[in-house]
């Protein structure tokens, strides 16, 4: 597969602040890549760097096989959807959609025809003569999408395009955007702080923290084999439980630092006596299942959503169960498969395998 976007060693300084620290990223043509991370980790900065809206302090950017490091945004052939949509308020929907085409040198008639075609795909046909202020939030979002699609660019860049929509519409647009991506076969980079969005939409997820890429890979790869405690805690909802522990004599089990020092077996071997942080996903702690790898935990609280029950133990360990749980439960016994027990270095957080 050919690379559509290649970032090598991207550095960005804002005065004394080091916002991006040597980012390397290869995005094959047609892939949907999500950049996730907590607020302030540099996702938007990285995206704006690809767009050419930020000058970089070091590194190299290639788009469609061309070095564009020093090329201004207009020469990069990318389209961007902003969080605020950034629709031109003084232009109609049609004006917004044809703006870039006219700049490219298309005739008025050609541009209008192309806009009408894309309006059909995005369901905007009835709104072409309206001004942005006359549209609902969801419609504005569509116009922003339409304005990007109409360009037929080398890559789409999205900066949290759904964060201003209500929850239901967000879920709907999530699927919509992904379908559009498949249909257009476009290359997309999608910034979000919502890991669910990233997991459901992307082919490739890049997890960032404080200006560095912590891990990147296929969504399930990140879920199954997090490279460190940060990624483990960030990917998956509800978040993974972390409990300190110590590897036992047999080098294949770990004693948790909980009342009664329960022992869990894990896959692989670690030196005996090693201090570790044990990671247990709430949804991997299955109710019942005595013997083997099981834990008995006192119950402090039960939360029910209808489809799931979240049991919180007195040490704030969370268990996500799909079955209904009776009230007045004193304690629960849960089972976990040994290959689902994650171990991390207690200080560096690196996954131990």
């Amino acid at each position: 597969m050919t690379q559509q976007i290649t970032l090598s060693g991207i550095e960005k300084h804002y005065g004394g602040y080091h916002a991006l620290k040597g980012i390397n990223l290869d995005i094959p043509k047609g892939q949907f890549v999500a950049l996730v991370g907590p607020s302030g980790c540099g996702k938007s900065t990285l995206l704006r760097t690809i767009a050419g809206l930020e000058t970089i302090s070091g590194g190299r950017i290639e788009i469609a096989g061309r070095d564009v490091t020093a090329v201004p945004p207009r020469g990069r052939d990318i389209a961007m959807v902003f969080q605020s949509y950034a629709l031109y308020p003084h232009l109609t929907v049609e004006g917004n959609m044809t703006y870039a085409l006219r700049l490219k040198g298309l005739s008025k008639a050609e541009a209008k025809a192309r806009a009408a075609e894309i309006a059909e795909i995005t369901g905007l046909s009835a709104l072409l003569q309206r001004y942005p202020r006359e549209l609902s939030g969801g419609q504005r979002q569509r116009v922003a999408m339409g304005r990007a699609i109409v360009r037929d660019p080398a890559a789409f860049l999205f900066d949290e395009p759904l964060s201003n929509l209500d929850a239901a519409l967000r879920v709907h647009m999530r699927a919509e955007i992904r379908k559009l991506h498949n249909r257009l076969g476009a290359t997309s980079v999608y910034v979000t702080h919502d890991q669910i969005e990233a997991m459901t939409m992307a082919d490739h997820v890049v997890v960032m923290r404080a200006g560095v890429v912590e891990q990147q890979g296929a969504p399930l790869e990140l879920y199954d084999r997090p490279a460190n405690q940060f990624v483990a805690g960030f990917i998956g909802s509800p978040a993974m439980n972390f409990v300190p522990g110590r590897v036992g004599e047999d080098e294949q089990s770990v004693a948790l630092d909980l009342a009664g020092s329960p022992v869990l077996r894990f896959a692989g071997r670690r030196p005996s006596g090693e201090a570790v942080t044990v990671g247990l996903r709430p949804e991997h702690l299955e109710l019942g299942g005595a013997g083997g790898n099981s834990l008995t935990l006192p119950v402090a609280l039960v939360e029910r959503t209808g489809s799931a029950s979240y049991i919180v133990s007195d040490t704030d360990l969370m268990i996500a169960a799909t079955e209904r749980v009776a009230d007045g439960l004193g304690q629960v016994t849960v089972h976990i498969a040994s290959e689902r027990v994650h171990l991390f270095h207690p200080t560096t957080g690196v996954a131990l395998r």
Binding site: R48, P72, Y88, P89
Partner: protein
């Protein structure tokens, strides 16, 4: 509750009407004096409505050579506006977009220039113009001096209009294929147009009333604006008061009409951003 509300509203309305009357009285007096005969003007007690209205507009226009005066006023005002818009818009934009402590200092300095009164500035300007030979083009000289005087006001007001435009709109334009200059001209300027237009109109009107520079710099009567022309008619020996008032009425009526016609735009342009 409702009755009380109604009462307050009536009282407030009455107060407002009295205040407006107070402010507009000189304008009213100008218009009726323009219509009075010279004898009626000095009648005691004064009349509040002319007995025998005289329409002397055409006569006054010719007698005092208003065509030349009004033309010069318009040239000076239009020239000032053109110069200020060309020089000030980019400056206001830069001041709106670049954020640093130094910008605040620059803005403060710009405002300081506004503080100096024309009557204080005229002497150094006169000397400087004399040295560079600017006195040969006195109207241009007045335009330059007046532009320098109102530029700070323009910059400050238009800068406020630019700061209301989200930066992302220009970034979208850059990504869409515009150059930096294109994004400024085709996105930022159209979006700030209300602010620019309103400020330009205010400056136009202010410059129509400019007196100090024109009085001191323009000696040739054919080049003088209406304000200076009017000044020659008043004074201890003035006799034709109703003529003077007719002159004034001719001079300010277009401005008043313009202001009333545009007042909604002006008020909304000054109070709210140009967006949304």
């Amino acid at each position: 509750m409702l009755a009380k509300n109604l009462w307050t509203r009536w009282v407030l309305l009455a107060v407002a009407l009295v205040m407006v009357g107070f402010y507009l009285f000189p304008v009213y007096w100008m218009y009726i004096t323009a219509l009075k005969t010279n004898t009626e003007t000095f009648q005691n007690p004064p009349t509040f409505w002319p007995h025998d209205p005289q329409f002397r507009f055409a006569e006054v226009w010719v007698k005092y050579g208003l065509d030349s005066y009004i033309k010069n006023s318009a040239i000076i005002a239009a020239g000032t506006v053109a110069l200020v818009v060309i020089l000030g818009t980019g400056c206001a934009y830069a001041l709106a977009r670049v954020r640093s402590v130094w910008m605040d200092l620059v803005l403060f300095t710009v405002l300081m220039m506004q503080v100096l009164p024309s009557s204080l500035m005229i002497t150094p300007i006169f000397v400087a113009y004399n040295q560079v030979g600017m006195m040969d083009w006195p109207r241009t000289g007045v335009v330059l001096a007046q532009a320098a005087k109102v530029l700070p006001l323009y910059i400050v007001l238009v800068r406020a209009a630019f700061t209301q435009i989200p930066k992302e709109l220009e970034e979208a334009a850059l990504v869409d294929g515009n150059s930096r200059m294109g994004a400024f001209l085709f996105i930022a300027v159209p979006l700030a147009r209300n602010g620019i237009m309103v400020t330009a109109i205010l400056i136009f009107m202010q410059s129509l009333g400019e007196y100090v520079y024109a009085r001191s710099l323009i000696t040739d009567r054919a080049l003088q604006p209406a304000t200076v022309g009017l000044q020659f008619l008043t004074g201890p020996n003035a006799s034709d008061w109703s003529g003077i008032m007719t002159y004034s009425a001719i001079y300010v009526t277009p401005i008043l009409i313009l202001f009333v016609a545009l007042q909604r735009k002006i008020v909304s342009g000054l109070t709210s951003g140009a967006l949304k």
